[in-house]
Symmetry: C2
Subunit: 238 residues, 2 copies
């Protein structure tokens, strides 16, 4: 089924090419492949989404996956668009722009926490999908009260979402945190010895920030701080 990606993205649309009726009925579909891949990625990360493992999960042979999806890269696009489409998009009602942007940020944070692998999917073709477009439309609506022209409005949304992505990323489990933590008892003192009295500002701030990060202070301090700054930044536009 080498249907082009655009048709796979829109496979649920009434006008999407249906695929002929000949041949054995498919035991899985593009939709089930994508759903299984999402399940895998949610559970074990994007690295676990290999064609072989996915096929095993679905109970088909490795190469059968390629009947329903053109490549692994295409699969990632389909996965991202699928989770974008599953978001609910409640009307903003009478909410002012601040509350809307807050909602927008928190919804995206929740999305990225539910599907941390989204951080690793950076493919412009995702923007062609129905889920991604619906998300975009809904998020633009959060900014309409600001009365910006289209290009500025897009830039403002990008600004907010870029902050959310970065914030979500630093809230997420870090890739090599384990190694660092494991060797820290040995490396910490060694680092201190190398540093000596150099870079006192970095040492002071780094120590304070480090203590705050895994100490009593809220580790989401940076998130709250950043979101407040984003709102300040947009306020300056009005």
């Amino acid at each position: 089924m080498p249907r082009p990606l655009i048709d796979l993205l829109w496979r649920d649309h009434p006008d999407a090419p249906a695929g002929g009726s000949r041949g054995p009925r498919a035991s899985v579909s593009t939709g089930t492949v994508v759903a299984a891949a999402i399940r895998l990625a949610d559970a074990d990360g994007l690295g676990a989404v290999t064609v072989r493992r996915l096929a095993g999960e679905l109970g088909v042979s490795t190469m059968s996956v390629y009947t329903h999806v053109n490549s692994r890269d295409d699969l990632l696009v389909l996965m991202a668009d699928a989770v974008h489409g599953q978001l609910d998009r409640p009307s903003y009602g009478r909410l002012g722009w601040r509350a809307r942007v807050r909602r927008l940020a928190e919804a995206n944070l929740a999305l990225l926490q539910a599907h941390p692998w989204l951080h690793e999917v950076r493919d412009d073709r995702t923007a062609l999908g129905p889920g991604t477009i619906a998300k975009y439309d809904h998020e633009l609506r959060a900014l309409t009260p600001l009365g910006l022209d289209p290009v500025t409005c897009d830039a403002a949304l990008t600004f907010v979402l870029d902050f959310v992505r970065a914030g979500a990323r630093s809230l997420a489990p870090r890739p090599h945190a384990a190694e660092l933590a494991e060797h820290w008892p040995e490396w910490g003192p060694r680092l201190a010895a190398y540093l000596g009295e150099d870079h006192p500002l970095a040492q002071e701030v780094g120590a304070a920030a480090g203590a705050a990060h895994d100490g009593a202070t809220d580790p989401s301090f940076a998130w709250d701080f950043g979101l407040a700054r984003v709102l300040d930044a947009l306020a300056a536009l009005t």
Copy 2:
């Protein structure tokens, strides 16, 4: 040479363990390996930095690389720290915080444009390296005029750098832009047909933003917009 990463990072420090004097003189060093890897990554992207290719470039066998670097993941940390260390760090002099933050942003943009593969290196262990620490120290100095407490200062720097990273990323060549452009003549109309009259706001803004992005309007609009917002956001702190 299974010296731990921390010692490889600080290999130029006088107190760094030197390694015994027995055995044949090494034909390459950790430094030359890292330099060659950076050259490769700058030229052909991180994907080109394979141990085999790197060894070929250095004129040694594949496995010899592991004499000077513990693993590919470690190598990425060493590469990132090396380019961080090569930045120059001119004193900010009498500059006010706005000009400092501008400089900071532009220096990091230049860094990420010179070494786009930095976007793909996300390893907390980089923070242990002398180059990264020196960079951190210098960047904190940009924010001192704001008179923030340490934790807030760190959060503010993170806020700025996260914006810069996102902005640099969207200015950089996109991974699958080629495929998109290639199929666009066919996919564009098909997408329009699927969309119909739906999501008029997304269609309007998307079209305007798309036209601005590759049209007469500066493609760096989002950068200028974002940087202005970041400055507004920090201004609200004072």
